[in-house]
């Protein structure tokens, strides 16, 4: 560790920070997971109550799931940015 120059240290911190950030960003996946599970459960209830509405309930549920998935996708995109783009940008500034 003593051999490492301050530049290498900075690089290591950047890479590590980006990786940790990417990992944290994917915590965003929890929200859509819970939300979609709730939505699907409600849809199942609705189908159980009114089986004749199965088609419209299913299509509405899929649409709603896909929209509520957006926040999770934001997290995923942020993670991608942190892994693939951020290190180069930050390292370029060093």
């Amino acid at each position: 560790m003593e051999n490492m120059g301050s530049l290498e240290m900075a690089k290591a911190i950047i890479m590590g920070g980006c990786a940790i950030g990417a990992g944290l960003a994917l915590i965003a996946g929890i929200g859509p997971g819970i939300g979609e599970g709730y939505a699907v459960g409600k849809a199942c209830e609705a189908i159980g109550r009114q089986p004749e509405c199965k088609g419209s309930v299913t299509s509405t549920m899929i649409l709603g799931c896909a929209i509520s998935e957006t926040t999770g996708i934001y997290g995923f995109v942020t993670g991608l940015l942190l892994i693939f783009l951020a290190p180069n940008i930050f390292l370029g500034k060093l």
Partner: protein, 165 residues
């Protein structure tokens, strides 16, 4: 192998413009080659179906009218039949009357003719008898004139005459 790759997330104005252009081209293609022709065909079919329906409606109305006329005729048919029978009866009565009258007339005529014939025959017979009697009288007179000498002859003559009757 000197191949480059873009970054996973990279923005390029030209690429965005190309994507928009691609989408617009595909919209035009869709309109021109899929939606347009199919909608045209659907509209054509719709118009054909409409025509067929209106034709069917017309035919149905005509059939309804025909049926109404037919039912009315059926209702009138009884009356008409009665009328026909009545007229036929009247005509038959008339004809039979005529025939009867004619027959009566003819019979009367024949009777009259027969009477006339009989009368004439009678007259003729009487005339003939008259002629014969006159002839006989002449004969008798002749005989009397020839044989008046003998009374017995006379008597004989009378007897002969009477026998000859």
């Amino acid at each position: 192998m000197n191949r480059e790759y873009l970054e996973l997330i990279s923005l390029d104005v030209w690429h965005i413009a190309a994507a928009i252009l691609n989408l617009l081209i595909l919209v035009w293609i869709m309109k021109k080659f899929l939606i347009g022709p199919v909608q045209k065909i659907l509209a054509e079919r719709q118009s054909q179906v409409d025509t067929l329906y209106s034709n069917a409606e017309t035919a149905k109305n005509a059939a309804e009218a025909d049926r109404a006329v037919y039912e009315e005729k059926m209702a009138n048919a009884d009356k008409e039949a009665e009328e026909v029978v009545r007229r036929a009866t009247v005509r038959a009565d008339k004809i039979s009357d005529e025939i009867l009258a004619e027959a009566n007339r003819k019979a009367a005529e024949k009777l009259r003719k027969a009477d006339a014939d009989i009368e004439q025959e009678k007259k003729k017979a009487i005339n003939e008898i008259k002629d014969e009697i006159s002839g006989m009288s002449m004969d008798i007179a002749e005989a009397v004139v020839c044989r008046e000498i003998k009374a017995s002859d006379h008597e004989k003559l009378i007897d002969t005459f009477i026998d000859s009757l």
